[in-house]
Amino acid sequence: MRSFSYERAASPAQAAEAAIHNPGAKFIAGGTNLLDLMKLQIEAPPHLIDVNGLGLDEITPTEDGGLRVGALVSNTRLAADMRIRCDYALLARALLSGASGQLRNKATTAGNLLQRTRCPYFYDTAQPCNKRQPGSGCSAIGGVSRQLGVIGTSEACIATHPSDMAVALRVLDAEVETVRADGTCRRIAMADFHLLPGDTPHIETMLEPGELITAVVLPHPVGGRHIYRKVRDRASYAFALVSIGAIVQPDGSGRVAVGGVAHKPWRVEAAESELPRGAQSVCERLLAGARPTRDNAFKITLVERTLRAVLNEARG
């Protein structure tokens, strides 16, 4: 860990402005991922801007019948909120399948979206990694890749995004609300928020330098059965091999996104029209163009089998 300076922001806009004036600065909220990465010197921000205490920890109704979840709402509080449990059960279930009780108490909504990959080569600073050190190469390709991505990967990176929550938000068509250094706000659709690695795997989101997430906005509830199915070797406290977030309506239509397979929650809206025809039809379109490694080719089968079980459960 390198030495760093630290400040407490006075407002979200001031935080964004401070970030612009301190190149390489990072916002810190729960710190459950950032501090680990700093200790290993995978992240070495010269300046931390603490965004706790800015009033970003409220869950409030929106005018169009949705909910605005403040960026600093903890994963624990979000999962326990009665409005979330009733109308966005997928989100509550995804949250509770992730991490541990202790981590969820500290981890925040925005921080969860911004957590970095768990690729073991990203974590080993002695190994080349384009995400950690652009241009150094990818040691995961051809290496141990059982946990890594099967679709949307590139020659530069096959990492996955580890979040469960993000998969649910993608299914729910959530939007990420931000403030920029000039004080302007915008909303970014979850579909666009995370990027594929391409040849710049170190750039993981649409956020501009200094841009601060202030909230996640959930649209009006859509009803249906909400199922989050996380598949993992260990029964708890493990990242997904694959996960499926689905909302299925009584008529068999619905939405589905997959975690653990790509650099972002993987959803192909066009594949969802196949839902009434079953998992195989969906997966043919959802996973078209997948390029798994020998270690993780099983994920293709696993997604289809798991989706089939999810659809059975939705019907049941």
Partner: protein, 736 residues
């Protein structure tokens, strides 16, 4: 005390204290956070400097250049230790690779520098500034690929013979009407103990003291002195509390040496904890194996031919994983052979992990037995019973000292509800779950080791025990106190136990499940000597004197125990040493594991539902701590069955998943229900305590029981551990 004839009635047999399920006497220290662990010895050194270890970034090759300038000038840096400035260092007799590498690099994350600074954070930051240019060399990192170059391992007392042959295996196997010939693999495992290797070192002139976390004080003491070129007497090793070891702390490791070198270089005490990401590659691990097992039997299930061959790898000069051990002893069979082969690998150093040999060996053998029972159309419990032996099958004039193996099997079957099992796999379903039930034998040898202790009696009648025995979370403090309380006839509150200090008599130490039986026997020997001295001082005949309730009694004359020490403390020291009872008799521990699993029929996720172990391990000194040992071992075996694997990057030569996020071990949710039953037995051939080891028995065979249960649930046989869903997903029934 020399133990060379089977034990007869002795004071331990009173079982007023020994054998009782007493709480740990060190429990309050641990639950209040006041047990002094190595990295937190604020009580002995007020102001230590901090060391941070730099691990090699290549698996094999040379350091071409080291640039320490930036690190040296970083804030707070006091010293940087490297092989180039550490002076001449020898290598410990238990170490295969050097603990401080350079310029030659022998394995990934071999320590190449220690940066010492005023604060932990400064040391860590400066360590990142050390610049090293390497010249990597190609290495051998793939066990399967290295199989062709494997050779016979060097034989010694620990490894046993590289090959054994009895009768004519080849001919008997060829003639057997029912045969099995399968290959099983087990991966590299990490000890993954909670407390990292950690040491605080302080020099006083040419005398060195290290407060560390180590299972074998005398080994660490000797190897630290040897490595530094000091007489043993100049080195003191103190390790009263250890946050888990599992074999990973049997030996002198880099934290100890580097803390000592760092303290010398900085001119003040230094403490070092190995960073978690270094532990998998910097320290030792259980080596992977490739095992071939062949069984031949008559149609009635009588085994006529049994062969077990095992291949493992290690650094040059290292040893084999002795995975064939149990197959020499567990089942009858007139024609038999075992063989071990060792390949040279440039991966980190392989060495002992909980039940070395038997743990991976039983994982293979007990799947083979399950497969063979099915081929024979026999119940797996019955098949094992049919091939029981009461003598060493390689040496039939050698009986087992005690072998209630069949009792373990029968009792386990009864208690687990074995009769409900379907012999055909894939028959039982509950909703989404495929349910399977299976079993495996447990087997681990009982090892006898010389072990010493010193006991002191003061005028208050308090007994203090001192021995370099360690408590690695096992309960040593408690069973040693129980032994002293029983022998001296005092309540537990009157016993003080002091462990883990090289100034105390050398004990067996903690390893190989030999700690409890041998260390308590050493304490018993010292207590017997103390009783003699007490009797002499009180004018009693020691044979007639009865020690109980804090008093000494002969006839109607009763004197308080402490009265013997009225003139001053009485000190007695002795050790237990053994004759040839382990030569004339085979001493082993036995058990049976029963497991029920559920496999998700869609995803293939395997979840254990319940586990039962029935154990025969001689006298159980404390059923509470022994049970904790067994359920811990069962959990570790479940991990080995379902998830634990150090993933080898065979291009770059290292274990990739080198932290606790990547190397998964079971969490509570993985093991819902465990039960342990101890057979009520004593083994008078093992020691005056009539006890045997139990801490490793629990891991032996449990992995195979899980594997067999997954087969029972799914009908898919997996012979490569860990049994993760990717290995059988495509062979599960279709999801409707």
């Amino acid at each position: 005390m020399k133990f060379d004839t089977p034990a007869t009635t002795n004071p331990i047999d009173r079982l007023k204290v020994v054998g009782q399920p007493l709480d740990r006497i060190d429990g309050p220290l641990k639950t209040t956070g006041t047990a002094p662990y190595a990295y937190e010895r604020h009580d002995v050194v007020a102001d230590p400097a901090y060391g941070h270890v730099v691990g090699a970034a290549i698996a094999k090759g040379r350091i071409q250049r080291m640039d320490l300038a930036a690190a040296r000038h970083a804030p707070g840096v006091l010293a940087i230790v490297t092989a180039a400035n550490a002076g001449t260092l020898d290598k410990g007799s238990f170490n295969t690779a050097r603990l401080l590498g350079g310029p030659d690099i022998e394995h990934y994350h071999q320590a190449v520098a220690l940066v010492v600074a005023e604060s932990f954070e400064q040391a860590r930051a400066a360590a990142e500034l050390v610049r090293i240019d390497y010249a990597p060399e190609p290495g051998s990192f793939n066990l399967r690929a290295a199989a062709g170059s494997a050779t016979l391992p060097h034989e010694n007392d620990i490894t046993g013979p590289a090959e054994t042959h009895v009768g004519d295996f080849t001919e008997a196997f060829a003639r057997a009407p029912v045969t099995l010939d399968e290959t099983y693999t087990t991966p590299d495992h990490s000890h993954a103990m909670m407390e990292p290797h950690a040491t605080l070192a302080q020099w006083d002139g040419d005398r060195l003291t290290v407060w560390t976390s180590n299972q074998m004080i005398a080994w660490a003491n000797a190897d630290l002195a040897k490595t530094l070129g000091l007489p043993k007497e100049k080195v003191r090793v103190v390790s009263p509390f250890i946050g888990g070891g599992f074999g990973g702390k049997l030996f002198l490791r880099a934290d100890v040496l580097l803390a000592a070198l760092g303290a010398r270089a900085a001119g003040r005490p230094v403490k070092v904890a190995l960073q978690r990401p270094l532990i998998a590659n910097n320290t030792t691990h259980r080596p992977a194996t490739i095992q071939r097992i062949r069984l031949g039997a008559e149609r009635d299930g009588t085994i006529t031919a049994i062969a077990h061959e095992s291949l493992s790898g290690d650094l040059k000069g290292g040893g084999p994983e002795t995975a064939v051990n149990q197959t020499r002893l567990l089942y009858a069979g007139r024609n038999r052979m075992t063989a071990m082969r060792l390949a040279v690998l440039d991966l980190p150093e392989g060495n002992a992990m909980r039940a070395p040999g038997e743990a991976p060996g039983m994982m293979a053998l007990e799947i083979a037995m399950d497969e063979m029972a099915e081929k024979l159309g026999l119940d797996p419990v019955e098949f094992r019973i049919r091939n029981d032996t009461q003598v060493d099958p390689e040496n039939p004039q050698r009986p087992f000292s005690s072998r209630p193996f069949i009792e373990c099997l029968r009792l386990g079957a009864e208690r687990f509800g074995w009769s409900a099992r379907s012999p055909r796999p894939g028959q039982r379903r509950e909703g989404q779950w495929l349910i399977g039930m299976a079993m495996a034998a447990a087997f681990r040898n009982n090892l006898l080791m010389k072990s010493g202790a010193r006991v002191r009696l003061d005028k208050a009648g308090r007994v203090t025990v001192e021995t370099d025995m360690t408590d690695i979370g096992t309960g040593s403090y408690t069973i040693i106190a129980q032994t002293a309380a029983e022998t001296m006839g005092v309540p537990m509150e009157q016993v003080v136990v002091r462990l883990g200090d090289s100034e105390f008599p050398v004990s067996a130490g903690s390893g190989g499940q030999f700690g409890a039986n041998n260390a308590t026997s050493g304490v018993y020997a010292a207590c017997v000597k103390l009783r003699e001295e007490v009797a002499r001082r009180l004018g009693f005949n020691s044979r007639e004197a009865e020690f109980s309730d804090g008093e000494v009694r002969v006839g109607n004359r009763t004197i308080a125990l402490g009265a013997a020490a009225a003139e001053g403390e009485i000190v007695a020291e002795d050790f237990i040493e053994y004759g040839d009872l382990d030569k004339t008799h085979q001493q082993s521990t036995f058990g049976a594991h029963f497991v029920e699993v559920a496999v998700d029929r869609a995803t293939g996720e395997a979840r254990i539902r319940r586990m039962l172990a029935v154990c025969a391990a001689g006298r159980i000194l404390n059923p509470k701590s022994a049970r904790s040992q067994v359920i811990g071992a069962m959990t570790m075996g479940a991990g080995a069955a379902l998830m634990e694997e150090l993933a080898v990057d065979t291009r770059r030569g290292f274990f990739v998943n080198h932290d606790l996020a990547g190397y998964e071990v079971p969490v509570h949710a993985d093991v819902p229900h465990q039960e342990v039953i101890f057979l009520d037995e004593t083994d008078p051939f093992s020691s005056p305590m009539k006890a045997k080891g139990v801490g490793e028995l629990g891991i032996c065979g449990v992995g195979a029981a899980v594997a067999n249960a997954i087969y029972s649930a799914t009908g898919v046989r997996i012979r490569d551990y860990p049994i993760t869903l990717d290995k059988y997903l495509d062979r599960l029934p279709d999801v409707a």
